[in-house]
């Protein structure tokens, strides 16, 4: 019985001490720098990848009409408001003509006066012609003198010259008048094409300089996106490729389009390529010009090749490669990378084959001496 007392005490002590020691050893080996590094492993699998390019751009109108007067003046009236649809030839507004109408009327009178002078010249010429004709006949029967006939001929020539001068005068007066009318008409601001009023820069009464836009029209059918692609990620960008467009205001909606043009001039400062992407069908509600859009351009799919996730790519002493697991040991295998897609799949050109096991995620940076512990999911990551 007394033996038992001692034994139970020893037992109780062991019950406390052994777990404590076990915990201590566990703590010493399983946590901190000595602990094995948790890693996840993926198999290299051949699969085709569809590389894609990603860029952002702004919605722009391909045709923008800036309508304004050709001479400085004051806006008289402006009928259209921003957002209104206008037809080609529609009068949008007018500049104040000041004295232009009076000058047109004065030219009108000058024209009529010239016409009157013309009529007079015609009458004179007709009379001179008939006189000349009569004396020619009289001279033929020798009933008048040759001198008189010569005088009548000269009178006819003078009358004819006066007539053509009067005719030219009418034409001049007419051109003068027409010129003024054109000028008068030019004060009207007229839509050159169908479009939407995008900007109304001046209100009636505002004085504008020559060339300053009063109204800007855009052609809604000509909306496109000016996209910027980082140069380093833009290989393969070409005309005609299909593109997916996500407008910032409609992030749940993907619009279809295609690359219309790759600009021949890149942005040297921002190190970007520029391209224009057009919508296959312009959306019902027009996106506002200047809205941000994300554009994904699909390149042609590539044939199947060994693929790894881009998280597996590591750098070790100047080499790009992956941590490969060979018979449970860690080895760094240099690889040559091929095409990649936006989901992080990277094709391997050289260095790995199908079925190879590579480390995709690790709890900390790996070295050749790391002890590893393969898990399904790195601790701390919520599944």
């Amino acid at each position: 019985m007394k033996k038992l007392g001692l034994q139970s005490r020893t037992l109780a002590m062991l019950v406390v001490i052994i777990p404590l020691l076990a915990l201590f050893i566990y703590v010493g080996l399983r946590s901190g720098p000595l602990a094995p590094v948790a890693v996840t492993v993926v198999s290299v699998e051949s699969q085709p990848v569809t590389p894609a390019l990603f860029g952002i751009g702004t919605v722009e109108a391909r045709y923008t009409y800036k309508i304004g007067p050709t001479i400085a003046g004051r806006v008289k009236h402006l009928e259209v408001q921003v957002g209104e649809l206008v037809k080609a030839g529609q009068v949008l507004g007018e500049m104040d003509p000041v004295d232009l109408d009076d000058r047109v009327r004065s030219q009108e009178s000058a024209f009529r006066r010239a016409q009157a002078a013309l009529r007079e010249s015609i009458a004179r010429q007709a009379y001179a012609k008939s006189q000349a004709h009569r004396y020619e006949k009289l001279f033929a029967v020798r009933s008048t003198s040759e001198e008189t006939v010569t005088t009548k001929r000269q009178e006819l020539q003078i009358a004819e010259a006066a007539l053509s001068a009067a005719r030219e005068d009418v034409a001049r007066a007419q051109s003068d008048r027409e010129g003024l009318v054109v000028q008068r008409n030019n004060l009207r601001l007229i839509a050159p094409a169908d479009g939407v009023v995008a900007v109304r820069d001046a209100d009636p009464g505002t004085t504008v300089v020559a060339g300053q836009a009063v109204v800007e029209l855009i052609d809604p059918k000509s909306l496109w996106i000016n996209v910027r692609f980082d140069q380093i990620n833009a290989s393969g960008l070409a005309e005609g490729l299909s593109a997916h467009i996500t407008l910032r205001s409609r992030s749940d909606q993907v619009l279809q389009g295609k690359v219309f043009r790759v600009e021949p001039i890149a942005d040297a400062v921002t190190e970007e390529l520029l391209a224009k992407v057009v919508f296959d069908a312009v959306p019902q509600h027009l996106p506002p010009v200047g809205e941000l859009a994300e554009v994904t351009v699909d390149l042609s799919p590539l044939p199947a090749a060994p693929v790894i996730p881009n998280a597996a790519i590591q750098r070790e002493g100047g080499n790009v490669g992956v941590w490969q697991i060979l018979d449970g040991d860690l080895r760094f295998s240099p690889v040559k990378l091929g095409a990649s897609d936006l989901d992080g799949h990277v094709q391997i050109r050289e260095g790995l084959k199908d079925g190879d096991k590579v480390v995709s995620y690790s709890e900390k940076a790996l070295t050749l001496h790391s002890r590893i512990h393969v898990v399904d999911i790195i601790p701390g990551v919520s599944p």
Binding site: V16, G28, Y361, A365, V381
Partner: protein, 401 residues
Amino acid sequence: MISLAGRDIMHAWGKFVFTGVGLGLLIGVTLSMAGIYRGMVDDAKVLLDNSRADLWVVQKDTLGPYAEPSSLYEDTWRSIRGMQGVATVANVTYLTMQVRKEARDVRAMIVGIAPGKATTPGWPPYLVAGRQITRSHYEAVADIATGFNLGDHLTIRRNHYKVVGLTRRMVSSGGDPMVFIPLKDAQEAQFLKDNDAIWQSRRRTEANPAFNRPGSPGLLDAVITSQSSNPYVNAALVRIETGYSAEDVAESIRRWKRLTVYTRSQMEQILVGKLIATSAKQIGMFLVILSIVSAAIVAFIIYTLTLGKIREIAVLKLIGTRNRTIAAMIVQQAIALGVIGFVVGKITATLFMAPIFPKYVLLEPLDSVRGFAIVILICVLSSAIAIRAALKVDPAEAIGG
């Protein structure tokens, strides 16, 4: 030979273990303190490791980019790229700010990483989930310590970013978790504060008659555009070609580009020697105080334990036990107490304190070994008082009267 200490401990092991656990909690705090210091140094080191650069090129005469603000033109890298011995150059920006996700916000260091692939300097060297950034805008890789998950949408300044990858132990020297975003977005985030600020800046420009002249339409737009772009980065990370010495390449950049360049060891010195020097001193102070307190407590416990056995010690001495045996008993008990305390301390520090402490706590095995030696040394030294008391006991006291 019989172990008196062992038998005494066995006899009252409950009390002994409880005392040891109490001491252990104190030792745990002390070990954690050392761990916090190591963690701070490690934060600084992983910051440098994770950038995977050999050289840091920063604004002239600054200690940037971590210890001081620094800015370079974003195209400076091109001229550095052409220097001999330079294998890769990548721009990088760092900005510590609050990152919002819905109602919650987290203090994080936003790292703008240059476009390229996963091995470009500045990119997170390893992930724990998801993938690296593939799009040149609006994607983010966040450290797991931010609490964000894959697929979350973060708000950084004016833009929303989708979390596509998670990292671990990617922290700033202050221990703030990192969020990696594409460089161009980061430059914008650094410069374009918020919509209100942009509006105000635009209005100010518009109000300036020099920029808003009726005779020159278009000038205002040009000015505003030039105002709202940011051509600066904080540093250029350089990786040198194998076969070149970092110091030589650094020297030639310093000389010909008139920029300040730091090598890895210089950077480490800046971070450890300057950035965390004050905190390190504070922690060192706490360590010393805690060690003294621990020593005092061990001494007191051992002394009390010995006083409780004073009659037995008198008997032992009377029946002829040598002083050495008695001293050994006390020292052994002190050491046993120290061992239990250390074991409990190590366990609590590792399992309880390190995970819940807001900063990273790195418990190095070598520190543990050193800590163990110090604990044992303290125990042995502080048992001296108790031994003195025990040796002063007069064996005659055992004989009554």
